[in-house]
Amino acid sequence: MKRLMASVCLAAALFAAPAHAQATKELVVYCSVLNEWCTLMVQAFEKKTGVKVTMTQKGSGETVTQLRAEAANPRADIFYGGVGDQHMEAAEAGVTVEYKSPMLAELHPWARRQAEQSGFKSVGIYAGALGIIWNTEALAKKKLAEPKCWSDLVKSEYKDEIQMSNPSSSGTAYVALATLIQVMGEDKAFDYLKKLHANINQYTRSGPAPARNAARGETTMGVNFLHDGVAEAAGGFPIKVAAPCEGTGYEIGSMSIVKGGKNPENARLWYDWALTAEAQNLAKGAKSFQTPSNMKASAPEQMPKMESMKLIDYDFQKYGSGAERKRVITRWEKDVGSLPK
């Protein structure tokens, strides 16, 4: 019945029905980076190819939920941006397809590895290292030392000064758990997290929240992706960032082609283009400071160079799998999250 019942009444309002893209010059993108970035990408792509892009910006978690709910009749062609784990998850759920772009050769090794580990169902478009961010004014007011290492964070003088996102809701926090496990070994990492628990004032629900709260003085320090901190600093807030001395993990922001999308050719067109240096250099114009995956693209100056950090050999395959993720998060909830404050 009844696509319609309502529509009949809506006749006057002249509503367009669904955006079924036709197999001509259209493309539907679910975009999980900052809105400005998405918009810049869309405009540039439309200008270059003449393909009409319909873009929806949502968090990567929401996007994966949506892709799964729509799996019976997919609406999107491209899932652009967002933590690599979510793309791994999408690949595992079978809502994205394999594609080997000719552009792979131009990418940093970490980006290529991400593609290989996902069975070429996704590819890295940028990387962002995890680290510590802090509010310099708040730190000075409390006469505290600047944190440099993971081990600094459990110092007793930092009690209730640190924020970290909650692993059960945030991909960032999960990257932090996986990083600590890979740096310290699992049992040691959980011992560390238990100690850290005493210094945490809040497990925020979203990943970039600690950086934002630190910028506004609601917390002194936070565990966050560094580029979020750099973005706040660029916005004029007294924020400094550091990559921990023991070594740190990173996210690889990724991109996937949606299985059963209505415009597969245009999707590949976007995919190849989004991996070019030209496309990747757009991010800086949108207050986004991640490190691009194309070796020819220029990394933003405000951001600490990836080369200068001690990066771990992050195992995306292992820690990107649904089962491992569930196991680690459950253990955290049980061993750490439920501890008294």
């Binding site: 019945m1 009844k2 019942m5 809506l10 509503f15 939920t65 729509e70 019976a72 059960s168």
Partner: protein, 731 residues
């Protein structure tokens, strides 16, 4: 009646012979398809059967053909009603069967392709299918009316059938779809064990906080918060209502405005304002630190903060419910009490307060339910205090992607809500609270006892000041470069969002927020009147007509109100992404979501007002030869104006400010203001988010004034019907 039978048969035939049977790509209202008509995509049912070989559509067509002789049978012929009834039922059943049996990928049941061979596919249904379905539905109604159902009134039977069909399709079906996932494991198999495991989870029901330092389960947290907010908002609302009706306070008007303002405030904004004032770097925190040396702390994050924000947000609703009830109490009852030598306090305690019971119960219930379903404030302010609404959201979108868990938590939430409805019902019992009779009441309202009056002032005035402070903060913050950091005044946020340029081609709305603002206004403007119409129609059916299953029907209309928005959003995608009803990505799905989510407000307001209007007015109209439809239009609607205003205002405002339900339903073409604001908050652009919210507040104020002007006042003179009508009253 013969006229209507012919009309609906004609509509059915048009749906079968002329209108495109399937959904048109990209849109029916985009006339380009006319040039292709009648090819495979735009063909009518008849051509689909004859030219496209879609044989499975033929049985429904036969049902319509079978019904057609009814147009030529006489009113007194009993065969007419029988024919309409059975042909209509058969038609609907056949349509539903073919619609669900075959989708865009082929047979939906695995066994069928073995039996009937692979193959037939079909897209979502279109206007032809709509016309035919409606025709069948109305033929059934006419058949029932012909048999004397609902006093033989075709309009009533038709309306009941239509509302039931709509609620069934747009409430029961999606909700059933998602709640079923509670008893499925991740692979989609039925698994009741999984349900109980998730249901009984310690993180949900744990009571550790009673005897240890561990936190309690999220269900208890939610319940505790909801009780605090329900009780608190009721008390605050009562204080405001008493001041407004029973005192000679000079700034009553201002107080009223302050008490209602938060209703039109977008989500997050109240939470943000609270942080800007009371957060660790908030303005008031800073003052306390500088003047009194009180150390800055994060005390606001947690139960206290959420409760404060929710009290601010929901007190207006309690106030609006209570002021109607307080006004409605017949002064002569209180005067009677006084003549029996009861002093001020005694009268208040023994007469006034008990008579306000229904208002108090309804206000508490609404505060309770709203607190349970609220998502925005806990998101911003809850700190480490978890509640079900956010937990459900993150169960769906968070790292674990556990839809089953979300469904289980939603069931728990729904359970609490239903328990509250039931408790309210028990508490009110069968006592009579009728205070407004047909006779005018010449008594004077009894002034409040002095102690109580000062108590009310003591509560309401500081609260109003706090509300005022919040709004000053919001407006000021929207003009600051970076609130909390750089307090230089600027217009930059408004320029980013709402700049307008003169170009050679005319006005160009170049601001980044215009697009979502227009869409939001458009969707809200379309959904508000539809919500009001369906809500008031349902209220009319519930209050004025008798039909079997009325209670279940009433409960069904309340269902979508009590379920958290996130769950509704996901359920709509699950139900309406595939044929036969394919709606995702359209504006229609947003409108439908708003209609059925906000309809209960119209229903409640309508029932409350109708219960004060003498039923014999409708009957008088009927005996004068007016059909129900005319009666509704000429007699009921003019008297329902207050309810109409509140239904319109409320559904408009809720459509403008809804967040959790629409996150999954917005699309590139149809992005909503709140989704945009959430995006800004996520990106840390508080300035733009607050500026946008300020614009929304202004827009909503303008819209409310416009609605008031449009609908106008109810003209009553003094006597038969009481003037006071509670704005909303649940239960």
């Amino acid at each position: 009646m013969t006229r209507f039978i012919r009309l609906w048969l004609a509509i059915g035939w048009a749906g079968m012979l002329l209108l495109p049977w399937y959904a048109i790509d990209p849109s029916f209202w985009d006339p380009r398809w006319l040039s292709r008509y009648p090819d495979g995509g735009t063909a009518s049912l008849l051509l689909q059967v004859l030219a496209q070989g879609r044989w499975w559509l033929a049985p429904a067509a036969l049902a319509l053909i079978a019904a057609t002789p009814a147009a030529f049978l006489g009113t007194d012929d009993p065969r007419r009603a029988r024919l309409l009834l059975w042909a209509g039922i058969a038609g609907m059943a056949l349509l539903a069967a073919e619609g669900f049996a075959i989708d865009h990928r082929g047979w939906t049941l695995p066994g069928m392709s073995d039996l009937l061979g692979p193959g037939p596919k079909q897209p979502g249904m279109g206007y032809g299918a709509l016309a035919l379905s409606l025709s069948f539905l109305m033929l059934v109604s006419l058949g029932l009316a012909g048999r004397g159902v609902c006093r033989g009134d075709a309009f009533t039977v038709g309306s009941v059938a239509l509302v039931i069909a709509l609620v069934g399709v747009f409430v029961f079906w999606p909700i059933a779809t998602i709640l079923l996932s509670a008893v499925r494991d991740n692979a989609g198999n039925l698994a009741f064990g999984v349900f109980f495991e998730k249901f009984l989870d310690k993180s949900t029901w744990g009571l550790d906080c009673l005897y240890s330092q561990l936190r309690c389960g999220v269900a208890w947290n939610t319940l505790f918060l909801a009780v605090i907010v329900g009780a608190g908002s009721t008390l605050l609302g009562l204080a405001f209502a008493l001041i407004a009706t029973r005192t000679a306070f000079r700034f009553k008007g201002l107080l009223k405005v302050m008490s209602v303002l938060p209703i039109i405030t977008p989500p997050f904004v109240i939470g943000l304002a609270i942080i800007l004032l009371f957060g660790r770097s908030g303005a008031i925190t800073a003052l306390l630190y500088e003047w009194f040396g009180i150390p800055r702390s994060r005390w606001i994050y947690g139960l206290q903060g959420v409760a404060l924000a929710q009290l601010l947000a929901f007190t207006p609703i309690a106030f609006l419910v209570l002021i109607g009830v307080v006004q409605g109490i017949a002064p002569s009852l209180e005067e009677a009490s006084q003549t029996l030598r009861a002093r001020g306090w005694k009268t208040f305690n023994t007469v006034t307060l008990p008579l306000m019971r229904p208002g108090i119960a309804n206000a508490f219930l609404l505060g309770f339910v709203e607190s349970m379903a609220d998502f925005g404030n806990p998101l911003v302010l809850a700190g480490n205090y978890e509640v079900l609404a956010t937990k459900i959201f993150f169960a769906v979108v968070g790292a674990a992607h556990d839809q089953g868990r979300a469904a289980v938590l939603a069931i728990i939430l729904l359970g609490f809500t239903l328990a509250a409805f039931y408790a309210q019902h028990m508490w009110l019992g069968k006592k009579s609270y009728t205070t407004v009779t047909g006779k005018g009441d010449a008594g004077l309202p009894v002034p409040l006892p002095r102690g109580l009056r000062w108590l009310c002032y003591g509560v309401a005035i500081p609260w109003s000041l706090l509300t005022a402070l919040m709004y000053v903060t919001i407006v000021l913050a929207s003009f600051m470069v970076a609130v909390g950091r750089d307090h230089t005044l600027t217009l930059q946020h408004y320029q980013t969002g709402f700049s307008v340029e003169w170009t050679p081609h005319g006005l160009l709305f170049s601001g980044s927020a215009w697009n979502s603002l227009w869409t939001t206004l458009q969707i809200s403007a379309v959904s508000a009147p539809l919500t009001a119409v369906i809500g008031l129609l349902t209220a009319y059916l519930l209050a004025r007509q008798k039909f079997a299953g009325q209670r279940a029907f009433e409960f069904g209309t309340m269902l979508s109100f009590a379920i958290p928005g996130t769950v509704i959003g996901v359920s709509y995608i699950l139900a309406f992404n595939v044929p036969p009803i394919e709606l995702t990505g359209t504006g229609v799905i947003l409108v439908i979501c708003f209609i059925f989510r906000n309809m209960p407000v119209g229903v409640r307001a309508g029932i409350a007002t109708l219960s004060q209007i003498d039923k014999s007015l409708d009957e008088a109209s009927t005996t004068l030869g007016a059909r129900s439809f005319t009666t509704v239009r000429r007699v009921v609607l003019p008297l329902l104006r207050p309810a109409m205003v509140s239904a319109l205002v409320y559904s408009f405002v809720r459509a403008m400010t809804a967040v959790s339900a629409i996150i999954f339903l917005v699309s590139a073409q149809y992005n909503m203001a709140t989704a945009y604001i959430v995006g800004r908050v996520e990106a840390g652009e508080y300035g733009l988010a607050i500026a946008y919210s300020t614009v929304l507040i202004v827009v909503m104020l303008a819209a409310i004034l416009f609605i008031q002007l449009l609908v106008g006042e109810r003209r009553l003179g003094r006597r038969p019907v009481p003037v006071a009508a509670p704005v909303i009253a649940a239960g």
